[in-house]
């Protein structure tokens, strides 16, 4: 178990990177605290797997250093870093039994046999493959194989960190839920540092205490699930987290008023810094109210998803989504208004703080 510091990590797959666009990872500076459960959330191609492979040592960063508990491990191999990593697609050793698969990482490190047997039995029990322990791994289904992969990651209790690279992609939804809870239990029990890469917001938000959202090679926001939801610091975070994502509308700010086209919205406070630079206003569908007052909109579509309804409407030509309760009535000439507490302002896609 260790604290992991990423010190100005940059990674490029181009031989001689010149412009920032040549970098798959633009610049990452972050600390994963010892024993924390972290999620790296982002769309595919945002650099999250690259970052994971840099931590585990499968990849050498183009620039920057990695420190485990303050010790520079940048030059060390994967094995020397003592990291466990679980990959997106199941990796099993076909010719070995389930038991041998789980024992493999321990055997390679010369752990005494009695200890191996004890650990392996424990893991087999946990991933619930007792009936299959002495079968060849080749015969198992994809999700059973992935459980073996997970098991191989968990079998070494002395690792510095366990990294998960979208490990539940191939597992069916019911099992996903169970495995995720088991991972949480394990995390609490052993206090391991865990980093979990995913593009699934539910997975990230339920697994991790702290979620880092990545976009285009950089970490755009790190925070608790609630912070990411209420105060997205980048329009991308607003758009990526939540279903549907945050409405982002072009806006101009004057004092404590925001103008969206010809409409005016009252803000909860005056924005600090350069108000003239602000170009966008973000408000989550949860904070949009549909009724008889406010700005007139044309409703285009209503989706009933069971728990609530999603209203898609056009406000002066801008698409806007609102979440309304099941029983709420939608007036023929609909108007919308924003909950002031749910309004965020953005300058060049980055959030601007508002004073009281």
């Amino acid at each position: 178990m260790a604290r992991i510091d990423l010190d100005h990590i940059r990674q490029s797959y181009v031989e001689h990177p010149r412009s920032p666009d040549d970098y798959a990872l633009k610049e990452v500076k972050h600390t994963f605290a010892d024993g924390g459960a972290y999620a790296l959330l982002g769309p595919s191609g945002c650099g999250k797997t690259t970052l994971l492979n840099i931590i585990s040592g499968l990849l050498r960063p183009t620039e920057g250093r990695i420190l485990f508990d303050g010790r520079d491990v940048s030059a060390l191999s994967t094995q020397e870093r003592n990291i466990a990593q679980v990959f997106q697609f199941p990796v099993v050793y076909d010719t070995m039994t389930v038991r041998e698969n789980l024992a493999f990482p321990l055997r390679n490190r010369g752990v005494p046999k009695a200890e191996i047997d004890r650990k392996v039995a424990e893991i087999i029990d946990m991933i619930d493959l007792g009936d299959w322990a002495d079968r060849k791994a080749q015969r198992l289904t994809a999700d059973q194989k992935q459980k073996i992969s997970l098991g191989r990651g968990l079998v070494r209790s002395d690792v510095n960190a366990i990294l998960f690279d979208e490990p539940l992609t191939v597992i069916d939804p019911h099992m996903k839920w169970m495995l995720r809870s088991q991972l949480k239990v394990l995390h609490k029990r052993f206090g391991l540092t865990m980093v979990y890469v995913t593009h699934d917001q539910t997975e990230a938000l339920t697994f991790a205490d702290t979620v880092a959202v990545m976009y285009d090679g950089q970490i755009v926001q790190i925070g608790t699930p609630a912070e990411l939801f209420e105060r997205p610091s980048h329009t991308f975070v607003g758009y990526f987290i939540g279903s549907p994502g945050m409405n982002v509308l072009p806006a101009k700010v004057e004092g404590n008023l925001a103008r969206i086209g010809e409409r005016t919205v009252r803000l909860p406070g005056r924005p600090g810094g350069n108000a003239a630079a602000i170009t966008e206003l973000g408000v989550r569908p949860e904070h949009v109210r549909v009724g008889r007052e406010g700005m007139p909109v044309a409703i285009a579509k209503v989706e009933d998803i069971g728990r609530h309804r999603i209203v898609h409407a056009a406000l002066d030509g801008h698409q806007i989504a609102a979440i309304v309760p099941e029983e709420a009535e939608l007036p023929a000439e609909a108007h919308i208004s924003f909950d002031p507490a749910g309004i965020n302002l953005y300058a060049d896609s980055w959030r601007v703080e508002m004073g009281a």
Binding site: T78, D94, T95, P105, N108
Partner: protein, 288 residues
């Protein structure tokens, strides 16, 4: 499931049927015909029964050729398979080296077999051959025309040169189909180079290796052209393999009946051995 019966469907397979009949069935039946009868030409045949078969199976000449052929197949498999795997393991996986290696590997396979024979026939000559001349100059007594041992070395070297590429290409195809994640997981698990080979690469190559061994066995058991060009089956009978013997019998001695019987026995042996190979190897795989 409901099947629709339509007899017109038979017309669809007719062309293939005719083709196979002319290329395989009719010649084979002719051979069967010859193996059961005796003829002195002018299309007069006498019934011979199993006489030709008894002669073939009772002749030490047949069993000697068979023994030589089995030893030859065993030696070239024992060399080509490990060597092929070794080369495939060391070939680059990406970059400009890949096409270069693939083309170099494919070259021997593209050369007509009699040309391969001619190349080695000249290559090994002690007067003008690059190999023979320098081996001789180095003080090693080497002459594939006179010495049976040297003849065997030459024929085996030639076969290894000609056919190892096939094993290499098949193994390589098996190797590149392994996703990177397997190697990464092995690194994470702290696996040694040997463990990576034993538990990741070898299992993934299993299937293609089975094909490689089967092909190499069948081909080497039927080898004709190359040794015929290089040694002509000599010196003496030392490199007379089954097919060379068969041609000697049929065309050299014009002993058609015995040759026909021999070719049928030969065919059945190849069929049987290939079937045993295949069953044993697939069973071993399934038994795991």
């Amino acid at each position: 499931m409901d099947k629709t019966w339509n007899n017109k469907a038979w017309f669809m397979v007719l062309p293939v049927l005719v083709l196979v009949a002319f290329s395989a069935v009719i010649p084979l039946m002719t051979v069967v015909n010859y193996s059961l009868q005796d003829t002195f030409g002018s299309n007069v045949f006498f019934w011979a029964g199993t006489e030709w078969f008894q002669q073939v199976l009772g002749s030490p000449r047949f069993w000697n050729a068979m023994g030589r052929n089995l030893i030859f197949s065993f030696i070239i498999l024992a060399i080509e398979v490990p060597l092929g795997i070794l080369i495939a393991l060391n070939m680059p996986r990406r970059g400009w080296g890949v096409p270069v290696c693939l083309v170099l590997m494919a070259l021997p396979l593209l050369i007509p077999w009699n040309v391969v024979g001619t190349i080695w026939q000249v290559f090994g000559r002690t007067d003008i051959g690059l190999l023979g001349y320098y081996v001789d100059r180095a003080g090693i007594d080497y002459n594939y025309v006179r010495d049976p041992y040297d003849a065997w070395v030459t024929v085996i070297l030639m076969d290894v040169w000609h056919w190892t590429s096939l094993v290499v290409l098949l193994s390589y195809a098996g190797l590149v189909s392994i996703p990177d994640a397997f190697y990464q997981a092995a690194k994470i698990d702290g696996a040694s180079r040997w463990a990576v080979f034993r538990y990741i690469q070898l299992p993934k190559m299993n299937r293609v290796l089975l094909i490689a061994i089967l092909l190499r066995f069948m081909d080497s058991f039927m080898i004709y052209t190359e040794p015929f060009v290089v040694t002509g089956g000599g010196p003496g009978n030392s490199t007379t393999f089954l097919s060379i013997d068969l041609v000697k019998l049929a065309l050299g001695e014009f002993n058609l009946g015995q040759a026909a019987a021999m070719s049928l026995v030969y065919f059945l042996i190849i069929l049987l051995l290939s079937w045993i190979f295949y069953t044993v190897m697939t069973n071993r795989e399934a038994g795991n």
